[in-house]
């Protein structure tokens, strides 16, 4: 998407022209986690900006910025790992557990980690 198309799209959005702040709920959660962890002092905002900009610079970055929160999440994971809170292996395993729990949960009911059939 060209810059002009992005601008036109942004202007076509309802209300104040700002549209929804987050395209999907997980983006809002990833955003808020970074803000909270900074508030808690896990990292400085300079560290955050440097890590995020490193992720955004990846080759093949999309012109329409639709990968922005993917980069945000990667930055969050890499800072969490560098601060020895959790590494990507821990996150992979728990994400898989959440996915299994989601599959095992009947539609309309809240998904709980306890519903993971492989849970030990």
């Amino acid at each position: 998407m060209s810059l002009r198309e992005l601008i036109t799209h942004s202007r076509g959005l309802p209300a104040s022209g700002d549209g929804p702040v987050f395209a999907e709920p997980w983006q809002a959660e990833a955003f808020a986690m970074a803000v909270t962890l900074h508030d808690r002092g896990l990292f400085t905002w300079e560290e955050w900006a440097a890590t995020l900009s490193g992720k955004l610079k990846h080759p093949g970055a999309l012109d329409d910025a639709s990968d922005y929160y993917h980069c945000w999440l990667e930055a969050l994971e890499s800072l969490i790992a560098s601060k020895n809170v959790a590494d990507s292996h821990d996150i992979d395993q728990l994400a898989a557990a959440w996915q299994r729990a989601a599959h095992a949960t009947p539609h309309g009911q809240p998904i709980r980690l306890e519903n993971d059939p492989d849970r030990s």
Binding site: H9, W26, T36, L52, S53, D63, Y68, I91
Partner: protein, 190 residues
């Protein structure tokens, strides 16, 4: 992605680093409470009150905080005033640093690689994409935001806005005019 975020949330909650309720509160704040209306009030006040404008020019962080719009990342704010000779344009070439407390979260185009790369190299060309053509004699000054310093453009007060209240003036201040990719609306224009 959703499962990954959920996994992160679980780990961070178990370690006592985040509180799910606090996460919800932050999301709510940025989805509904913080937005360009804050910045518009700052600009309208600067247009109406020369003393406030002077303060905003000298110490934007304090002048903005006085209206209870406080940055979360301890960032400093600088207000850059448009004049007939100089137009100001804000970008973050590195990532997407943006004055959240006064403008909310940035629009998609602000975060896009084309805007971030072109704004510095060819600001006049970028403004044309926004249908904003400035006189050749107007100098365009580009401000590159950082984690420590964020910018708010104070657009020129539109002609014909004499006698309007601060509230009415704030209606003329668009988000884009505070980034520098637009001008304030003329009174009576849609």
């Amino acid at each position: 992605m959703a499962a990954r975020v959920r996994a992160l949330e679980t780990i961070l909650t178990e370690k006592g680093l985040i509180d799910p309720q606090a996460i919800d509160a932050i999301v709510d704040t940025y989805e509904t409470k913080v937005g360009p209306r804050n910045g518009a009030k700052v600009v309208a006040k600067a247009w109406s009150d020369p003393e406030y404008a002077e303060w905003l020019k000298r110490d934007a962080t304090a002048a903005i905080e006085s209206l209870s719009y406080t940055g979360r990342q301890g960032e400093h704010m600088q207000a850059v005033f448009n004049t007939p000779d100089t137009h100001n344009l804000v970008v973050c070439t590195l990532c997407s640093c943006y004055p959240w407390s006064v403008l909310g979260l940035p629009p998609v185009w602000y975060k896009s690689p084309p805007y971030r790369s072109k704004a510095v190299i060819d600001p006049r060309g970028v403004l044309v994409e926004f249908d904003l053509t400035l006189p050749e004699t107007t100098r365009i000054r580009v401000w590159d935001s950082t984690a420590e310093l964020r910018y708010l453009v104070v657009p020129m007060r539109p002609e014909g806005s004499e006698g309007l209240s601060e509230e009415q003036l704030a209606e003329l201040v668009t988000r884009d005019s505070m980034i520098g990719t637009g001008l304030a609306r003329a009174p009576g224009a849609g």
